[in-house]
């Protein structure tokens, strides 16, 4: 029962070594030794050479800036009553997804900021950006307090149930990314009685586009909006939990037709300009997805403009799919107003990206949804921006334990 050490970089070690207690100077919430280390990592991630090679590391670098970290700790403290003290939970076991290279860092960094000892399973299938991050983390160790290397561990192992079981039994909190299947898979391994899971199951996300908001926007603004939407959709092959898939056009049907045509044309131009394309395998995948949806009914028309872009006109909101149809496949539905979405929304719906609405309309929609679904309502272009509140959880809050003192 061994694992390969990725951080601190090293050879193969027995799992038991990961679980050795660390008695010396335990970490605290917002521990300066962790803040210093993360801020150093931020600087390295924002180095132009690296950010050019892996643009997604740039957003991670911004997320880890000292100011952001301190603000997150302050925000946490601000939510606590005067009689409440926050402490680290203890040991946190993170199981991030293989396909999003940087999630493991966000999840881990907030937990480290909360003062926890962490064990992160880095998938053996992880991609180049993950390796780049690990390199940066290891490079930062030289200047870091030794407590960082003792308490913050990232490991890689294959599908070894024994390792997973051992780490699960020994943690106070288990963080499972990677969708329903990963959650179900991991849940076979029991936790200690006082421990619990923080899970990130399969999610679906949508976009809402106001017909009147579009009409009011300048041609320049419309182009910007299409580019922002293209970034949201294409960055993770439209397969991230927050990637918008279906676009709800909100407004009267007749102008909505024209808005759709113009939006699709601008989207096409934006995708072309970025040079994004899909390969033959993805092109076939998209046909399988779109034809399958059409077979089920509710697709009035489907159009394959080119491999990178397919659009489907749905007959009504109920026909909206929640599964992935392949990169660059956009169902469109026209609804008269935002309230039409209320009965449709479910628990698994995560992000609603918006353009052209007044803030009050969006808040009103959130109130009507009442937390039954949709955890984030963000403007076009911000779908994939990771935030410390994710999937309805205030992560830093999840990573601490509260003690109350009443006199």
């Amino acid at each position: 029962m061994t694992v390969r050490m990725r951080f601190p970089a090293g050879g193969t070690v027995p799992v038991a070594d990961l679980l050795a207690p660390d008695e010396a100077e335990p970490l605290t919430v917002g521990d300066p030794r962790v803040v210093d280390f993360l801020a150093g990592v931020s600087g390295r991630l924002l180095a132009p050479a690296l950010a050019r090679r892996h643009p997604e590391l740039g957003s991670l670098g911004f997320f880890l800036r000292r100011r952001e970290l301190l603000r997150a700790v302050e925000r946490l403290r601000g939510t606590l009553a005067p009689d409440t003290l926050a402490f680290p939970r203890g040991r946190v076991f993170h199981v991030p997804p293989a396909n999003v290279d940087t999630i493991f860092v966000y999840s881990w960094a907030l937990s480290a900021l909360a003062g926890n000892a962490n064990v992160v399973r880095v998938s053996p299938r992880s991609a180049a950006a993950a390796d780049a991050v690990l390199e940066v983390l290891n490079a930062g160790l030289a200047e870091a307090d030794p407590v960082v290397a003792r308490t913050q561990l990232m490991v890689t192992y294959g599908h070894d149930d024994a390792v997973t079981a051992r780490l699960s039994a020994a943690c106070d909190l288990r963080v499972i990314w990677g969708g329903d299947r990963a959650v179900q898979d991991l849940r076979r391994h029991p936790l200690a009685p006082a421990a619990r899971d923080l899970t990130f199951p399969d999610r679906s996300s949508f976009a809402v586009l106001s017909v009147s908001g579009w009409a009011a926007a300048s041609p320049h603004r419309r182009r910007e909006v299409a580019i922002a939407f293209a970034n949201d959709a294409y960055w993770f092959d439209q397969a991230a939990c927050a990637s918008p898939r279906t676009v709800f056009l909100v407004g009267p049907a007749e102008p909505a037709e024209r808005v759709r045509a113009e939006f699709v044309a601008l989207l096409d131009a934006a995708v072309r300009e970025r040079g994004w394309d899909v390969d033959a395998a993805m092109a076939v995948e998209k046909r399988v997805g779109a034809y399958g949806l059409a077979a089920d009914g509710g697709v009035r028309r489907m159009e394959f403009h080119r491999n990178a872009l397919a659009t489907l006109e749905l007959t009504d909101v109920a026909a909206t799919p929640r599964h992935w149809l392949g990169a660059g496949t956009f169902p469109f539905v026209t609804v008269p107003d935002l309230a039409e979405l209320v009965p449709f929304v479910r628990r698994r719906d995560q992000t609603l990206t918006h353009f052209g609405f007044a803030r009050d309309d969006l808040v009103e929609l959130a109130r009507r949804l009442g937390g039954r679904g949709v955890d984030r309502i963000v403007p076009f272009g911000a779908a994939l921006t990771f935030a410390p509140v994710w999937d309805g959880h205030d992560l830093l809050r999840e990573f601490v334990r509260l003690v109350t003192v009443t006199d």
Binding site: G179, D202, Q238, A239, A281, V284, V288, D296
Partner: protein, 349 residues
């Protein structure tokens, strides 16, 4: 070599197939509502000027949706493909479609096997046929084929080891007259070729029919030409026919001609190579995705299918048999997306 299914020149075939397949499009559109909804959403018309204009379905759709064109009580057999990812195609046959597919397969193979049943060597183990109600790809291939032979020898024992003594006995008895050899390409190479060469066995009267692709042999640098050359040189086996077919178009096989190297389309079937960017028909010599067309699928809309195999047409009406000559070049990799979820399966919400 006598044949009654490799007879039509390409212009003759296109005219005939266009009419028959156009009629099938209309038939399936009437009989299979999910198929009709797909065609409606595509805006597909009922008539097509050319074969390449007929609407196609991605073959994997049979793994994600039930597509049937006959009432449930008329389905007498459901074929399933093997799938490495756990997804399987489900192909529904009624009595007529089942009879037609086996008859047309027989006529196609009779072209190279002759009209009589030959003694048959199966490069597999008897167990693969197993349960007749649930055919694996290996089992279905073997089961469909066993009917074309007699006095069968299953070469492999339960542990997939070739039984040399039984093979010697079979060859002593039947090796002096034409006999049929059937197997998956890599198994023929691994279990028959290497064994026959090692033991100096004479396979010169054999007629080999094989399929399955070259992927597993690629690391041994064995392609079709090398396969034929070495079998001929080392075992005397020269009558070798590769074939290409799939459970989603059961009964239709594209058969390698006696000269080797090219697959031919029987009169009731054709292939179109599509450019995977423009989706238009690729010219002769240009590789693309293989679309297979066949008039046999009447009980399910499998008459025009886009496969995930890459191929190339070498020539038209210029080979041993009339029509298109083509090769299969390999398989398209499965699309993989980045994303939060570790697994993606089409059609699962």
């Amino acid at each position: 070599m006598l044949t009654d299914v490799f007879t039509l020149t390409q212009p003759e075939k296109e005219k005939r197939l266009r009419d028959e397949l156009t009629a099938l499009v209309a038939h399936h559109r009437r009989a299979c509502p999910p198929y009709a909804r797909i065609l409606d959403a595509l805006g597909a018309r009922d008539d097509a000027a050319a074969l390449a204009d007929l609407p196609w379905l991605p073959v994997r759709l049979f793994k994600t949706r039930a597509l049937v064109s006959v009432p449930e009580d008329q389905v007498i057999r459901v074929l399933t493909s093997s799938g490495t990812t756990g997804e399987v195609s489900r192909i529904h046959l009624d009595r007529e479609a089942a009879a037609t597919q086996s008859r047309m397969l027989a006529r196609t193979l009779a072209t190279v096997l002759g009209p009589r049943r030959l003694p048959m060597l199966v490069v597999d183990r008897a167990g693969v046929v197993g349960d007749r109600r649930s055919y694996s790809a290996r089992g279905a291939g073997a089961l469909g084929m066993v009917n074309f032979g007699r006095d069968h020898l299953w070469l492999l024992d339960a542990d997939d080891r070739p039984d040399i003594d039984a093979l010697r006995t079979f060859l002593d008895r039947h090796g002096g007259e034409p006999f049929l050899i059937f197997g998956f390409t890599f198994m023929v190479w691994t279990y028959l070729y290497e064994v026959a060469r090692a033991h100096g066995l004479d396979l010169s009267q054999g007629i080999l029919v094989h399929s399955g692709g070259w992927k597993k042999l690629a690391d041994r640098a064995v392609d079709n030409a090398e396969f034929r050359r070495r079998l001929g040189a080392d075992t005397g086996l020269t009558r070798i026919h590769n074939f290409y077919g799939m459970v989603e178009q059961i009964g239709t096989v594209f058969l390698e001609g006696p000269e080797g190297g090219s697959l031919y389309c029987p009169d009731f079937a054709d292939v179109i190579i599509r450019d995977p960017v423009t989706w238009r028909e690729a010219p002769v010599g240009t590789p693309g995705l293989i679309e297979v067309l066949s008039t046999l699928p009447t009980s399910y809309p499998g008459h025009v299918l886009l496969t995930e195999d890459l191929g190339v047409v070498h020539g038209v009406d210029d080979g041993h048999w009339p029509g298109k000559r083509f090769s299969v070049l390999g398989r398209l990799p499965r699309a993989e997306a980045r994303g939060c979820s570790d697994t993606y399966q089409g059609g699962t919400a």
